[in-house]
Symmetry: C2
Subunit: 179 residues, 2 copies
DNA sequence: CTGTAATTTCAGTAAAAACAGAAATTACGT
DNA sequence: ACGTAATTTCTGTTTTTACTGAAATTACAG
């Protein structure tokens, strides 16, 4: 499988971006490849296309499966596993947010709650105590809101985003404008 | 400067989280420390408290300054620079999103646009072309919306988030409920 | 059941990032 | 202008993460 120039560009950039957000580069590259691919790909095809070791592909796919970003499928007459990802950015975005919530946000909430419940909290200044509390409140509000939003189907979500300006005016009690 | 148990817990966890989101661990720790601190701190105090090299603190502070998360202040009778961060989570969140937008999202938009304008796009399948386009659209909508939201002051923002459910109903044309 | 294809696990290697400590520079007080 | 405090820059080391290739395991066809 030879990559076209644009696909290569896309995949390489996606890998870079993944790295900056704490995602392994090849994991991100493989996901980008599957996203652009027209058919599900076998692990060996990924190896060939991206020039990485078979074991690397195996582990990366395992990670993508854990994130539920990738699914295993089968092709008639081919014994090998094939892998595919959703072609909907919205769907993918949801899955990523959901994963991050479970892996990173949830533990943070636990830690903050433990901090605030600990008897050792007495030793902290009022200011520090308040800021820990506010951090907890903030994250909770944000995740509750994210849950709400991501429960929606893509079309609704799209509308919500596009209506950003109107929402602002609505909340502030100002007349709606289209500026 | 000796850390209290809770502060230490908070700072260490913040460092871990930073790492998972692509932020250097000590950078995140220093920011957490300044966030909890009651007064601006000098670099040497940070060195002592976190047990890291002076040069490490210097570079980390430079990075935090670049993100505009930290400001330099001065204390009467002390020649050294002192550093402080906003005590408002909302404010901090804004700054982080803004920074990410400039550093990561903007370059991605450039790449995607270049891909879609390139003559080599002809070589791509229709499906791939469409998905690149949809990716661009998605990121653009999301950032436009984020710009809108983050322009608001904290109170307004808070209300918007808390009204998530109502917004949904509003958009879908359903009667408002408090469920 | 036997042989082969497919996949995973594991151990070692390579690459990258983080960090410390010394040296150099800058800023400041006298 | 000189000396010292403060900060930054630079170089080498350590640590961590990513990755490869071989070995082991599993799944499957005949």
């Amino acid at each position: 499988m030879e990559l076209t120039p644009i696909s290569e560009r896309f995949i390489l950039h996606w890998g870079e971006m993944g790295a900056r957000w704490g995602v392994n580069r090849t994991v991100a590259q493989i996901h980008a490849l599957l996203y652009l691919a027209e058919q599900p790909l076998a692990a060996d095809e990924i190896v060939e296309t991206l020039s990485v070791a078979r074991s690397n592909v195996s582990n990366s796919l395992k990670e993508l499966l854990a994130w539920r970003l990738v699914k295993v499928t089968h092709v008639l007459g081919d014994r090998r596993d094939h892998f595919e990802t959703s072609k909907s950015v919205w769907e993918l975005f949801k899955l990523i947010v959901e994963g991050r919530k479970q892996r990173e946000v949830a533990p943070t909430l636990s830690v903050l709650k433990e901090c605030l419940e600990s008897p050792e909290l007495e030793e902290e200044s009022n200011g520090a105590r308040q800021r820990i509390q506010e951090t907890l409140d903030f994250i909770q509000i944000l995740t509750t809101w994210a849950d709400e939003m991501l429960r929606q189907d893509p079309e609704t979500l799209m509308k919500v985003l596009k209506l950003g300006a109107k929402v602002r005016n609505f909340v502030r009690g100002e007349p709606e404008t289209d500026a």
